[in-house]
Amino acid sequence: MANKSRRLPVHNLTTVFRFEVMRTLKKKSFWIMALAFPLLIGAIIAIVFFSNKTTQKAVSETKNQQFSLGITDKSGMITQAVFDAYKIKQIPDRVSGISDVTAGKLDAYFYVPTNLATQSIEIHANDVGLFNNSRYQSVVSSILSSSASATVSSDVAMVLQNRVKYESTTYKDGKKYDGFKQVIAPGVFLVMFYLVIAFFGNQMLTSTTEEKENRVIEMILTTIEARTLIIGKILSLIVLATIQICLILIPIVVAYMFARSQLSIPDIDLRSIPLNPARIAVGVGLFMSSFLFFTGILTSIGAAVPTAKEAGGFLGIVMIMIFGPLYAVTLFVSSPHTPLVTFLSYFPLTAPIPLMLRNAVGNLSYPAAILGITILSISAVLALGLAIRLFRYGALEYSRRLNIREIFSRKP
């Protein structure tokens, strides 16, 4: 039964990588998790789509709907032309109007007082449902607007009706600068980091506990290097995270391409999005170093505790450290040079969000970005080294948490 076509046990990285990717892809739980978010987005898009469609239909129906209307105009604002156009019955007094509505002679009656600046317009109408009752206010508003517009020039009418169009151009360093569009390309890395940690944090945390819980660790450690196993697992997580991101992006792209107007998505010409190579490079650097750092941290925790369940307890703490700075988002945008922002930007556990956000909004200088990437990269190397050491020397502690001092006192 012996096989003679064998190689010596070296370079097992691709074997670990393939095994980890394939077995995760074969799990139903992965696909449930992976598809849950895009399906949720799809469901929300569908709800918004049908809601908008239904609302538009309802508005259109309401607009065309004929109903009997009476008005008492004490202000004198409403012109005869408008009375005629809207086929409005003029009612001499308030009491008669209300009585016509209650008697079913009119669908709606509006009492327009003498002084609109201090008094309210009264609407008395038949109930047509919680949402449709708002049509009466729309109608009276339209009547007044039409009447007012008739007394002024068309330009003044545009201003009064808030229909003036605006086109703004901002400049920075003497060149055109669109702050919103500038955020998009470097901001993608912040969103990606958020999604990766949110979806894969737990998997990173438990990736090393499985060998421990299943007691397979001794066979593994005498077959391949701990480093190979950890790196193989991390590479597999990167691939799985990429798949996850694609699954999230695909429905968004499809929605943007085919249902932009129905979903009220801003009509942005993608070709007009500025691509600043330096800021994108900083975004890539921050994303990669942050991802590796937190992978190292989460893998270390997984290697240090005996079970996945116990590892899960630490995930919340790590999440608070990573995403806690989001609560200070306005500070990062408006006051990037305050001591608190500086601390949060360079303290490794909190650095990713502030640095990526500041890079996106354009207030992270290049020296500051390089310093941030350097800190995160060094932290990533240390965290991954710690993870490998904990896995290597702590793997056989099946039933208790590791003592870090004990691990480091062991000779390599």
């Binding site: 096989n3 010596l8 097992n12 074997t15 077995r23 007691r215 066979m219 450690l221 005498t222």
Partner: protein, 247 residues
């Protein structure tokens, strides 16, 4: 005499303030079957783990083929640890092929070998079944298969019969004998004296981290006045066994 394949020289192991192995020296010759005997807690598993680089020794040297064991040192090792386990949620064939590849086999070679082995141990129908759906005995067979699947030149079996039913025990013994006949070196960690007597050329008895007896089975018996290995075991570890049973 050939160069020993395993040399343990003045090995010392401490965990914190607890000394598990005080000063242990022995060697294992290529092609022999060597028994590492001792009661629970005598340091057998610790010695094996230190030999395989899982634990760094506190003192002394432990070598395999002349150097400390590393996974990439080119030695074909088959190791059945005392703490058994495999990936529970994966299919039997996937686990076997994975380990085969990690041991240097190609995917096809590992798959072919695994299928033949499953046929031999009458588990062909479990090929695509998740490991945790198998009985304990069936899982033991799979683990044993993984241990021997790279045709090991050094086979280390830590309490191999632990948890085995008589049928699997017979299978294990047959497999060990096959590897003995093929020239493999076997280190057998156990306290089953019947198996030691049947399989081992030389033995070492560990007690409180030291060698209580060391040599060929015949020599060790002679040194205890010709007693059987069972009697020797009781004589050496009797007090510890009594203490353990009282506790």
């Amino acid at each position: 005499m050939k160069q020993p394949i395993v040399i343990v020289d003045h090995f010392k192991m401490q965990f914190g303030s607890t000394t598990v192995i005080e000063d242990l020296s022995f060697n294992v010759q290529p092609g022999e079957t060597f028994g590492l005997l001792g009661s629970n807690g005598s340091g057998k598993t610790t010695t094996i783990r230190a030999l395989l680089g899982i634990y760094p020794p506190t003192g002394g040297t432990l070598t395999v083929s002349g150097k400390p064991y590393k996974v990439d040192s080119g030695i074909r090792l088959g190791y059945l640890p005392e703490e058994r386990g495999l990936y529970k949620k994966e299919k039997v064939i996937d686990i076997m092929v994975y380990f085969g590849q990690l041991k240097g086999m190609t995917h096809n070679a590992a798959q072919t070998w695994s299928e033949k082995y499953l046929e031999r141990v009458e588990l062909t129908d479990k090929r695509d079944v998740r490991l945790d759906k198998l009985s304990g005995g069936q899982q033991q067979k799979i683990q044993l298969g993984i241990t021997i699947m790279n045709d090991p030149e050094l086979l280390i079996l830590d309490e191999p019969t632990k948890g085995f039913d008589p049928v699997n025990r017979r299978l294990l013994m047959t497999i060990i004998e096959e590897h003995q006949n093929a020239g493999a070196t076997v280190i057998f960690v156990t306290h089953q004296m019947e198996e030691v007597e049947r399989l081992c050329d030389r033995i070492i008895l560990l007690k409180d981290g030291k060698a209580e007896a060391y040599g060929s089975v015949v020599d060790v018996k002679k040194s205890f006045g010709g007693a059987s290995l069972d009697d020797i075991f009781l004589k050496v570890y009797g007090e510890q066994i009594e203490e353990a049973s009282r506790a």
